[in-house]
Symmetry: C2
């Protein structure tokens, strides 16, 4: 078993190995968040700079037939802004765009893609400040967004025992949208509800405004790009904490429940599907109401304890939940 491959080790294990290799590393006192958080953040003068990068690769993260070039460009920026939102009250300010493009890509596709970048950069008043274009055999989009703040950032690892666990909006739609595309393809005549799920997959909105409104009350924060299950682990794992999660409280959209009637299936999409780009956070009980006042779309789905375990309950009855998530490898 000496010549193990990535697929036999698993992505998370491999990231652990890499982190470990980098841990004994040159350290810089200005770094305030790094590997393992949504952004890399460092202090410079009175500002904190937060940098995120995400790669979208054709046939891994998207299929060219299933999303328009414009939506793809929009999504590539939104998912990075979502990482900025996950640091709290930080302004996304600059975007860099690296493109890997196959030689047979049409000019129209690229113009539409760039229009997508532009639409979302304008929406957040970001400057597109640089980039790189190289040949590739699959469309590869590597976006870096730089955020700037004078505020304290909200990290992943500072939840406290007794804090409530809150989320924005609903979960599972984006994964359900992909399930529909897998089943019926793009040419199928979808109902309005089904289309809304596909739109959630192809056209996500980062929760930046929400993060800005509530950041100062929160003890920890991340986005839910890898699904609720993984996000809950990220807020508790390695910090001697645990959590009780009440799955009956996980918010599901009307459209999701109408299209996929089986609640169990909807919950699986919510827990393991990912790509919802919502926020999940912890907040002291005393601040829970004011957070909901600023962002009415907040639901509390559980609480932090010191059990070192994540326990799931459905209407107070404990549930065994096994990880079924999307793995990269």
């Amino acid at each position: 078993m000496k010549n193990k491959t990535v697929s036999s080790i698993g992505e998370f294990r491999l990231i652990e190995i890499i982190k470990h290799k980098f841990a004994k590393f040159n350290y810089n006192k200005n770094v305030i968040a790094g590997i393992g958080d949504d952004c890399f953040c460092f202090n410079t003068g009175k500002n904190t700079i937060c940098i995120t990068k995400d790669m979208l690769i054709e046939d891994v993260h998207f299929k060219k037939d299933w999303i328009t070039a414009k939506n793809l460009g929009q999504k590539a920026i939104e998912v990075n802004v979502s990482d900025i939102a996950a640091m709290g009250n930080v302004a996304p300010t600059y975007a860099f765009i690296g493109l890997g493009i196959p030689a047979n890509t049409s000019k129209k596709f690229i113009i539409d893609l760039v229009n997508g970048f532009k639409t979302i950069c304008n929406k957040y008043k970001m400057t597109v400040a640089g980039g790189d274009m190289v040949k590739a055999n699959k469309i590869t989009i590597s976006v870096t967004v730089v955020g700037i703040t004078k505020n304290k950032i909200v990290k992943r690892n500072e939840a406290k025992k007794g804090d409530l666990i809150g989320v924005t909006n609903t979960f599972g739609d984006a994964r359900a949208g992909i399930a529909l595309l897998y089943k019926h393809g793009v040419k199928y005549k979808y109902s309005q509800e089904e289309r809304s799920l596909i739109i959630k997959q192809n056209n996500p909105n980062a929760r930046l405004n929400e993060a800005h409104k509530i950041a100062k009350y929160l003890t920890s924060l991340t986005d839910t790009s890898d699904g609720l299950y993984i996000s809950i682990e990220l807020l508790t794992k390695n910090f001697n904490l645990g959590a009780n999660i009440y799955t009956n409280k996980i918010p599901l959209s009307k459209n999701l429940k109408k299209v996929f009637r089986d609640e169990n299936k909807c919950l699986k999409f919510a827990l393991f599907g990912g790509e919802d780009y919502e926020l999940i956070f912890t907040v002291p009980k005393s601040k829970a109401k004011i957070v909901q006042k600023f962002v009415p779309q907040v639901t509390y789905i559980g609480e932090i304890n010191s059990s070192k375990k994540i326990r799931y309950f459905y209407n107070d009855k404990q549930q065994k939940i096994k990880y079924l998530g999307f793995k990269h490898f």
Copy 2:
């Protein structure tokens, strides 16, 4: 001809189109260099932050059989540090590493790759501060390096009429190394001179120390990653300038001349080959000597004029030189 593809338009033309689309864009007064320079640079407080990103894609920028995983990791960092050096006296401080990895990649390959990253980050005292790992069908390495400085950066577009054009070290070796690998593969018994050319391709050194020593004397600066011909264009094009270049002064290594005896061929490698990661700069005549005092490996190969044309001369006889470079598409 409505449905043009990238290969029919050409990479440089496409970048022009994209730049144009972004030009009418949200502008931020703190941005001091952007698309078209080696780094994106912005002011924050008393510091200037310079950010660069480069993507290396398997079978486009490297072949897995032709370079060790460790050298690949080293090169991925060096080429980004070269972009930081191209902004002058800037300290590369943080690196982010985005990896796209095929599922059948061996653990050993990844560990070696990461060791390569680590070696060069240590060399420059950089902190590896974050990253991302995703599945891909080809190895894709997207590195972002953040540089910080309190000094004035040296841009590409501020050469002055009468300035001398200087370069560091020699040109053409890296491209010659690739030519050898194409011809003989990896298992061939190469001479010492041939091996030195392959090493220049696989194990480049960014000229950071050199940039730090001479930045304050220079009027413009870039690195030569795309070959001398393109670099000379970058320093003069769009600025109402021109240049005379003396090709007989272009420095060629002893090894290159020994392996490829035809001087014309060596000059083609130098002008169009790229991947040398040397510096090219302009400097007022009055500062030319002090620059050579600090960096004895500087050669002056031409001078800036206002002709709006780049003219090539070999021993004072004008030469017609047609672009033969490596195109991405």
